[in-house]
């Protein structure tokens, strides 16, 4: 057999092996992704069967320059700016705490990581109860604002962010726990013997050595935060007075197909969201990753 025919044979085998995965990805990811671009060019009527109207690129430009969109973008960025740093920090602190060799730490590890696997609907319901002005825990402690948190134009978004932080904390805790486990123990011990205080060890040794994990958590957390939707839907709703304070882009997409149905607008927003998130991620790689120290050889 010639070398060429061997190579052809091998690639046929390889394509056969990836065919099932490729089919699924094509049907559920690639096709909808491309189809979305087409949707964005039309005004789509709310009921199936009615004709779509060609608007072209015009629909996209008007959508992304509209006040509604810009307001939503601002809410999304604010939300992300609250959730990512605080979620990363909280997860890091918890992970460092749980990394102590203390009795019963295993229980805490389980507890801390549960937020990563609990559904946002559950989290939102719990926080909704905590914040309830009549029988909530925080108001019971005397912590209250007027109007109540979820109806308060100042506090509604931070309240959403706290739920987001709570959710993200579990994932970032898991990431940092794994990161801490993989740090070379003798290096940490060397820092001890070298006379470094706990604070210095944390900032000069632990943090730099965890920087790949921190970068990963920030990148993943940013993407997740940019697409937040759940707690707004459960606790605020499109009819609420604070809707315009908490209408993240993902929620605005939802609103665009349900409340003022035009799937074309929704498609435009989702393309914009995709573009903005990609840009942020690109910038993170460009500017943050340079400061990451990879520990391995």
């Amino acid at each position: 057999m010639t070398r060429r025919s061997v190579r052809i044979r091998q690639s046929v085998g390889a394509y056969a092996l990836i065919a099932p995965a490729l089919t699924l990805i094509s049907v559920f990811i690639i096709y909808p992704f491309l189809r979305n671009f087409k949707l964005a060019l039309y005004a789509i009527p709310p009921f199936p069967g009615l004709p779509s109207k060609w608007l072209g690129i015009h629909q996209f430009t008007t959508t992304v320059t509209s006040d509604v969109f810009l307001n939503s973008l601002q809410a999304t960025l604010l939300y992300t700016a609250m959730v990512v740093p605080l979620g990363v920090f909280a997860g890091l602190v918890l992970a460092v705490t749980a990394h102590q060799k203390l009795r019963g730490m295993a229980i805490y590890r389980v507890i801390f990581s549960t937020t990563a696997v609990s559904s946002v609907a559950v989290a939102a319901t719990i926080f909704g109860t905590l914040l309830n002005p009549v029988n909530g825990l925080l108001p019971w402690f005397g912590i209250n604002v007027n109007p109540p948190f979820l109806q308060n134009t100042t506090w509604a978004l931070p309240a959403m962010a706290i739920i987001g932080i709570w959710e993200f904390m579990g994932l970032s805790f898991l990431l940092f726990s794994a990161g801490l486990q993989s740090l070379p123990e003798e290096v940490m011990e060397a820092a001890l013997v070298d006379g470094a205080s706990p604070v210095r060890r944390f900032f000069r040794v632990t943090i730099p050595m965890l920087s790949p994990t921190i970068f990963y958590a920030v990148a993943v957390g940013t993407i997740a935060a940019m697409y937040t939707f759940g707690q707004m839907d459960v606790l605020i709703g499109t009819g609420s007075t604070t809707y315009t304070n908490t209408d993240t882009l993902a929620y605005l997409i939802y609103q665009s197909v349900t409340v003022q149905p035009n799937a074309g607008v929704a498609a435009c927003i989702s393309i914009a969201l995709f573009g903005i998130t990609s840009l942020i991620t690109f910038l993170q790689f460009r500017f943050l990753e340079r400061r990451v120290h990879y520990v391995g050889e």
Binding site: V187, E189, G195, S211
Partner: protein, 349 residues
């Protein structure tokens, strides 16, 4: 600088007893080598001095004061880890300077100290490199520089040369000894390599199974071991141990009479160095089972009666047997060492 003392130190991990009744005093300014086979508890002993482990029983004193409960960062000891444990994200200069951050010195003073330590170890050119850009030998020197930079009371070195090639190891061995002599800092140096121990230590403490066996100068350990473990572990090759019988003042190996040494009739173990055995036409019979040709000398391994093997050292220019050939050997010294057949402790006349 300070003396380090172990007082009846015991250490358990769970149910495993790793160190038992460990008593050892390292004098101020001394270079003491802790020698023992893998897993005997050397690293554990060092880590307890550094404060990375606490003894289960007994106490450790540095400079005459118990360090029980004193955290590692307050013990003022420097440790060179088996794996070097350099900070991967810091340059060589910052690695060396790291211990100085916790001291009061000004920035200029610190930089000066870093440069001095780096020069001393020939790292002057490498100060801006990261550890991953260094060879094993260079990393090892960075670890040493980091240890000496702040003049600690005690140096702890855990097999720092184990990752180096033979040439570099010999060279660095000399450098470490010189450095220690210049600085005069009390040093505990851990190794499982008896050649390293013999060439470096003022005194060597031999350990086995968590027990201290014997402390002494290299010559003392070589010539005057207190039990069969030390006899066979120290020296290359180790001492040959032959089960023997004493009958009417004559030592028999198997049925062959060897040396004459007065004493009660009994079973004993006779210890003979390889240079004190010689192949001969008559003597204890055996079969040549291996030959190690080491250039100027040859180690001839002979399976002697009762399944014991001896190693006979001879010059390279002496005729040597073939593998599998039946040979016999004689004991050429008149003063072999004797050990109790049961306790394996040394018997002294």
């Amino acid at each position: 600088m300070a003396e380090v003392r172990f007082e009846q130190v015991g250490k358990q991990f769970g149910t495993q007893q790793v160190l038992t009744g460990f008593d050892l005093t390292v004098d101020d300014g001394e270079f003491l080598v802790l020698l023992g086979p893998s897993g005997c508890g050397k690293t554990t002993a060092l880590r307890m001095v550094a404060g990375l482990e606490e003894p289960t029983t007994g106490s450790i004193l540095i400079g005459g004061k118990s360090v029980e409960g004193v955290a590692p960062q307050h013990r003022d000891v420097a440790m060179v880890f088996q794996s070097y444990a350099l900070y991967p994200h810091l340059s060589v200069a910052k690695n060396i300077g790291f211990p100085l951050l916790s001291q009061d010195g000004s920035k200029d003073e610190n930089q000066k100290k870093v440069r001095e330590a780096a020069e001393l170890l020939g790292l002057g050119e490498l100060l801006s490199r990261k550890p991953k850009e260094l060879s094993g030998g260079q990393r090892q020197r960075v670890a040493l520089a980091r240890a000496i930079v702040r003049s600690p009371r005690v140096f702890l070195m855990d097999e720092p040369l184990s990752n180096l090639d033979a040439t570099l190891r010999t060279q660095t061995r000399g450098e470490i000894v010189q450095l220690q002599q210049r600085l005069g800092t009390t040093t505990i140096y851990v190794t499982h390599d008896q050649v390293e121990a013999m060439t470096m230590g003022d005194r060597i403490a031999v350990m086995n199974n968590g027990h201290l066996q014997q402390i002494g100068s290299p010559a003392e350990l070589y010539e005057d071991p207190i039990n069969t473990f030390v006899a066979s572990f120290v020296g290359n090759p180790g001492m040959n141990l032959l089960r023997a019988q004493r009958r009417s003042g004559v030592i028999y190996v198997g049925d062959t009479a060897t040396v004459n040494v007065l004493g009660a009739d009994e079973s004993i173990v006779m210890g003979v160095r390889s240079e004190d055995l010689q192949l001969s036409n008559s003597g204890v019979p055996g079969v040549c089972s291996a030959l190690e040709v080491l250039g100027s000398e040859v180690h001839v391994h002979v399976d002697a009666p009762g399944g014991q093997t001896v190693v006979i050292r001879q010059a390279a220019n002496v005729a040597r047997p073939r593998l599998g050939e039946t040979v016999s050997f004689i004991v050429t010294t008149e003063n072999p060492l004797f050990f109790d057949a049961l306790t394996l402790e040394r018997l002294r006349a």
